[in-house]
């Protein structure tokens, strides 16, 4: 697929800051989508509000740019009313975990067939760098000038506990692994969740001695630990904790029956 078959030419180039990880995720997604041979006309992209949720606006397909935090709820309605369409949700850490946390947990639980891609940049980027639910402990932001005293939320572990069929987390430093996981997620029947820890040099790195996007990539590389290894670690382990550890890998891959099969909408469409 040609690049401008996939992206909307009239929206090009995109608005993201220099060095933003969302562009990297877009490359990986384009690659995964292309290699799977999916058709754009039978795919709907849903986004909430925020930097990451702008991605659907650039893809040359039907896009639903919704209200803040509700993307999964919109996608649930869309998917159940038209089970033949493929639904991909682009969302961010604030959109998915903070304002939309309830929809996220219940989306995983309900297990409707959709792929949710969360671009976790540890900060509210579009509004200027306020602390989010995934800001690591003691990191600075415009609303935590003395360091964030809250502990961050582990979105992927929540997805595992809530019942998603496929959960993986990678950083933008792991482009090949990420592409592979995106492919697996889109092929998976049921709720699949891919979390991408991404760099926000402008609003997160700049306030935490990593103003260069490459410094953030280096940080990801040095602090990423495969999940197999962290399972043996201390029980009070919190993701992205004081030590800044990022757990990466495929968290779960299972085949719970998905909701549309259970209520039978697949049969009569």
């Amino acid at each position: 697929m040609d690049i401008f078959e996939f992206y909307r030419k009239e929206q090009w180039p995109h608005v993201f800051c220099p060095g933003c990880g969302i562009g990297t995720l877009m490359n990986c997604f384009y690659r995964a989508f292309d290699e799977l041979g999916l058709t754009l006309d039978k795919t709907v992209f849903v986004g909430g509000i925020g930097c990451s949720s702008r991605v659907p606006l650039y893809i040359n397909s039907d896009a639903l740019h919704t209200t803040h935090g509700r993307a999964i709820a919109f996608a649930t309605g869309l998917k159940l009313a038209r089970p033949d369409l493929k639904v991909v949700v682009f969302t961010g850490d604030g959109d998915l975990g903070a304002i939309g946390g309830n929809h996220f947990i219940n989306g995983c639980r309900r297990n409707v067939d959709m792929t949710v891609i969360c671009i976790n940049n540890n900060v509210y980027g579009m509004t200027g760098g306020q602390a989010s639910i995934t800001t690591p402990h003691n990191f600075l932001s415009t609303t935590t000038p003395f360091g964030s005293k809250e502990y961050p939320l582990d979105l992927s572990e929540i997805a595992v506990a809530a019942g998603a069929n496929y959960v993986a987390r990678w950083t933008t430093r792991h482009v090949h692994e990420l592409t592979r996981s995106l492919k697996a997620a889109m092929q998976k029947k049921g709720f699949s969740f891919v979390e991408v820890v991404s760099q926000c040099p402008t609003n997160f790195g700049r306030r935490n001695k990593m103003a260069d996007s490459t410094a953030m990539l280096e940080w990801f590389k040095d602090n990423s630990v495969r999940r197999e290894k962290t399972r043996a670690a201390a029980l009070d382990h919190v993701d992205l904790n004081i030590a800044g550890q990022i757990t990466i890998g495929e968290f779960v891959d299972r085949n719970r029956e998905c909701f549309e099969e259970l209520i039978g909408v697949e049969k009569h469409g």
Partner: protein, 82 residues
């Protein structure tokens, strides 16, 4: 194949310079029309995909470039000999 940077898209984040395992890229010294010190492909002959056709390998730069500025182009005869 050789990587080429589109100066109209590059925003000089230098991720390619950092990520390339073969040091093909270097930081730019000239301001592009868009107003950035766009990175340059200084040593394309080091690339894993030098003189390679068909399925490419590595591709860290193309996948990582946040501005979709890097693309693959066939080499000229002269470049092939390097």
């Amino acid at each position: 194949m050789k990587p080429v940077i589109d100066l109209a898209l590059c925003k000089a984040c230098n991720i390619c310079v950092y990520i390339c395992p073969k040091k093909c890229y270097s930081k730019g010294a000239d301001i592009s029309e868009r107003g950035y010190f766009a990175a340059v492909v200084s040593a394309p002959e080091n690339c894993y995909n030098h003189n390679r056709e068909g399925k490419l390998i590595c591709e860290l730069c193309v996948l990582s470039c946040p501005d979709q500025a890097i693309s693959w182009h066939p080499e000229t005869e002269e470049e092939r000999k390097k």
